[in-house]
Symmetry: C2
């Protein structure tokens, strides 16, 4: 069926997206073909444009469409507080909460002895430079509560301890969380960090 | 954040695909940006090409890149057997099984009094024409085993009863199916249509 090859190739590529398999890729492609005008054509154009313009911010590692991202360019966010995250997805999650008004630093992963990822594979040297260059007063270590995330947080804390104030996200019961469904570690953390009313 | 707008717009469009929500659309877009060369650029090109070339086969309603699809053009498939399906997705599913070597007719939905879908909204008049024009000897009604699907099958059967042999897909226990997980209707159908060994 050489005639259908473009459509088949599109299904194969779509199936390589995270969260889609062969079946959902087929459904998505049929949907795209049916909604050609409102969905497929604009999607093709946007993807082409993003493929050309998307790049990592040279300063913080965020993904944007210019060499320095909108957050780094925003003077109102030069608050002297830097939030260190593992990944752009984590930065986006922090931004959605709308609470943090400082700047970010995306490490691009965590230290991992197994995968031979040391400080120089991450954006850690650049973080140290920024702390000096931007007059940072506080570094919030918003790394994931995993073993690798916490190892990385300790490493960075050791590096920067004498130069800036350090903090990490509070650990405890998630909003809306039910105790019955929480793991023991979370309950222990929430109990240890309990607040007086 | 006007600077990020192309990426945000891409996330919004991706979230409108079936099977993706806002969260998985964000993951997919980050993945696409990271795999720009091997994934995002070819995907943008393919989507653009498919948006331009994809069309419905004028004969059977299959989706392809020319006015008459590869199956309708394939002389080896002029076997006199026509398989009627609701949807292109059903046609693809039949093709994956690799068993059927005749041609298809895609109705584009089912009759539905509630949604005001009558025979003329579907490709039913064209089916009647094809039966005559292509010298069809058997019509397989491979419609879904839903109320609307079976109503449509009965309607078509009444139309064509005097002109061609009609058949429908066998109903019974799916291959690999466990009785314990099957609904009562399927077990009843399988029992009624039991085969002597």
């Amino acid at each position: 069926m050489s005639e259908k090859s473009d459509i088949d190739a599109l299904i194969d590529l779509m199936a390589r997206l995270p969260g889609l398999g062969p079946r959902s890729a087929r459904r998505a492609v049929l949907h795209l073909i049916r909604k050609r005008g409102p969905l497929l054509t604009p999607l093709a154009e946007l993807m082409g444009r993003v493929a050309e313009t998307a790049r990592e911010c040279l300063n913080c590692g965020n993904v944007g469409t210019s060499d320095i991202c909108a957050i780094c360019n925003d003077e109102a966010r030069a608050t002297g507080v830097l939030c260190v995250v593992e990944d752009v997805a984590d930065l986006w999650a922090m931004e959605r909460s709308g609470t943090f008004r400082g700047r970010y630093h995306v490490l691009g992963g965590t230290l991992s002895a197994l995968d031979a990822i040391g400080p120089d594979e991450l954006r850690i040297p650049r973080l140290v430079d920024r702390v000096t260059a931007e007059g940072v007063e506080e570094v919030i270590l918003a790394l994931n509560a995993t073993v690798d995330g916490q190892t990385t947080a300790h490493y960075i804390a050791d590096l920067l301890r004498d130069r800036v104030a350090l903090s990490s996200l509070a650990q405890g019961v998630p909003i809306g969380g039910e105790l019955d469904y929480l793991d023991d570690g979370t309950i222990t953390a929430a109990l240890t960090a309990r607040k007086r009313l």
